[in-house]
């Protein structure tokens, strides 16, 4: 199973992994209460899966809907080994949604812990359970690996489209490799380090922790038990995690569990945030409760391969780079950022990490991608202050209320300040703004009056309501659709 050197680009994810496995065969690749897999065994499993994929999906499509076990991490590498494109699908999504992704992707192979869920799926796909792989696979013979890097699709991740149908973002291998050129050294993990695996595998943020850890010889710690997921601060302590990757709101979860304290977070060396705005209180809380923990803030849409900017937040620069949220930083590698209207406007991203487009949807692709410039219009509204860029909201969250154009993100920012940093969400119902605040709102009129000191009248919410916990999507982002449905009249 040793690839012939002539066809191997050392930047290829599988080449990186195999190098790590050769150098540190007995180091742990995966570790938690249920899993303990050495690099040697991990590489062996990749080859076993690759044998099956070669037979049933060579140059084809593999759908992975797996719990956070061995195969969930090995199968993406195995798909790349046979030049297949893989689609990771969160197994906790509602069945209908999973089936609609399956229908759109038309996989040759579906690897899943729950084959019974796929009975309604067309029989053209071969559905396999991880434990069936051994029956199907021959002993891994010499697999000719061609680990060259080109622009063919590496993975497709489906995100929710505004129409309600899932949209598949097609990421080329060149994009993934460009990202890893930044991610592997940025995480700086290696043999002996222990990196969290918090995001679900259908959320592209998981590309960062999974690949940057496994391509460097570090130990990846999948957080899959209810205990680890609900109490991330205790998971950090229990698993002695030194490298953490997640959305920033996980810091709020740690705080609400009463775990923002040095004894819980002592092992942390680096926290990398992505996926939603990082805020000054998040950073302060981390700096106040850790001694040597660095913080990287990153930004990027799925359409530009996980993230394409970075800034290191320090105790010294925190105030300088914080506005309503922490600045998104500078583009990585060969990526570049542009604003279409001077110092404020929609952010346009270009460079090798930009996706090839949406899966089998030329119309949607043409609306936001410009293949000639390898660029993508993000739909994120960005403001430049000095040399810092701040994401201030979504273009599609600009609304018109009684004739006034306003940004719901701005209402939320002011409301968050007035509430002393609580999570808030604003949306429009019947031509007026509803503001939902996490926790008890003892006096809505008083809250509104405090807001009137900082917002013009037309931006004031007509209703301010408390909620025990703002609903979030499986990717931990505010779930506006559920909120709007819950508060619909």
């Amino acid at each position: 199973m040793t690839p012939s050197p002539s066809s191997v680009d050392p930047r290829h994810p599988l080449a990186r992994l195999l190098n790590a496995a050769e150098a540190h065969p007995h180091s742990l690749a995966l570790h938690n209460d249920e899993l303990s897999v050495t690099y040697e065994d991990f590489a062996g499993r990749i080859m076993r899966l690759a044998t099956v994929f070669r037979r049933h999906a060579a140059m084809g499509r593999v759908l992975l809907s797996l719990e956070k076990g061995l195969d969930a991490y090995a199968a993406p590498f195995a798909a790349m080994a046979v030049r297949a494109v893989y689609c990771p699908l969160n197994p906790d999504l509602p069945l209908r949604r999973r089936l609609s992704v399956g229908e759109a992707f038309e996989p040759d192979v579906i690897l899943t812990d729950r084959p019974e869920d796929w009975e309604a799926h067309p029989q053209s796909s071969r559905v396999l359970r991880p434990d069936e792989v051994d029956e199907v696979a021959d002993l891994p013979e010499d697999l000719e690996l061609e680990l060259a890097i080109d622009d063919r699709p590496a993975y497709v991740i489906f995100t929710s489209g505004s129409s309600g149908d899932p949209k598949g973002v097609v990421i080329p291998l060149t994009g993934l490799c460009h990202y890893l050129d930044w991610a592997v050294p940025a995480l700086g993990a290696g043999p002996g380090s222990r990196c969290s695996q918090h995001p679900n595998l259908g959320f592209d943020l998981s590309v960062l922790d999974v690949f940057a850890s496994l391509c460097s010889g570090a130990t990846l710690i999948p957080l899959s038990s209810a205990m680890d997921r609900m109490f991330p601060g205790r998971a950090i302590e229990r698993h002695a995690i030194d490298t953490w990757v997640s959305v920033p709101s996980v810091v709020d979860v740690i705080a609400r569990a009463g775990d923002l304290k040095p004894e819980r977070l002592r092992s942390l060396r680096l926290m990398v945030f992505c996926g939603e705005p990082l805020r000054r209180p998040h950073c302060r809380a981390i700096f106040d409760n850790t001694e040597h923990c660095r913080i990287l803030n990153t930004y990027g849409p799925t359409e530009a391969t996980v993230s394409c900017t970075v800034v290191e937040v320090t105790r010294e620069n925190l105030d300088d780079i914080s506005g309503e949220s922490v600045a998104i930083g500078d583009p990585i590698g060969d990526m570049s950022l542009g604003l279409d209207e001077g110092d404020e406007g929609e952010l346009v991203i270009s460079g090798p990490q930009v996706a090839l487009g949406y899966w089998r949807d030329t119309e949607a692709t043409a609306r936001v991608f410009d293949p000639a410039n390898r660029s993508y219009r993000t739909g994120d509204w960005v403001r430049r202050k000095g040399r810092n860029l701040f994401v201030t909201g979504r273009i599609d969250r600009q609304v018109k209320v009684r004739g006034h154009r306003l940004e719901l993100g701005e209402v939320e920012t002011r409301a968050r300040e007035v509430s002393g940093g609580r999570a808030v969400a604003a949306f429009v119902r019947d031509e007026s703004i509803v503001l939902v605040v996490e926790g008890v709102v003892a006096d809505a009129a008083e809250f509104r009056s405090a807001l009137s000191d900082v917002l013009p009248d037309y931006m004031l919410p007509a209703d301010v309501v408390g909620i025990a916990a703002i609903p979030r999507t499986p990717n931990d982002k505010i779930d506006y659709r559920s909120l709007e449905a819950a508060y619909a009249r």
């Binding site: 038990s225 205990m227 609900m230 609400r256 569990a257 926790g439 408390g466 025990a468 609903p471 979030r472």
Partner: protein
């Protein structure tokens, strides 16, 4: 000595975390069945029970404390214990 008043105080705290009142919560209300009781609220409830009553947070208590009925019973046992 812990007593009924102590139990009532803790249950009031739990109800407040759910933006509710003790009288409004039924024994069947719980994680996923009460509108405000999602996993984040559950984290806070468990942390409160840990602080107030010495609950040991583990896989068992995460599911075991999944309804207001089981929490009421746990708090009352604690208060009388």
């Amino acid at each position: 000595m812990q007593d009924e008043r102590e139990a009532a105080r803790v249950l009031l705290k739990i109800a407040q975390l759910l933006d509710s009142e003790v009288e409004q919560l039924s024994d069947e209300d719980g994680l996923g069945t009460h509108p405000g009781w999602n996993s984040l609220a559950h984290v806070e409830i468990l942390a409160t029970l840990e602080d107030e009553c010495g609950l040991v947070i583990d896989a068992e208590s995460i599911t075991g404390m999944g309804t207001f009925g089981s929490i009421r019973q746990f708090v009352e046992n604690w208060a009388h214990g």
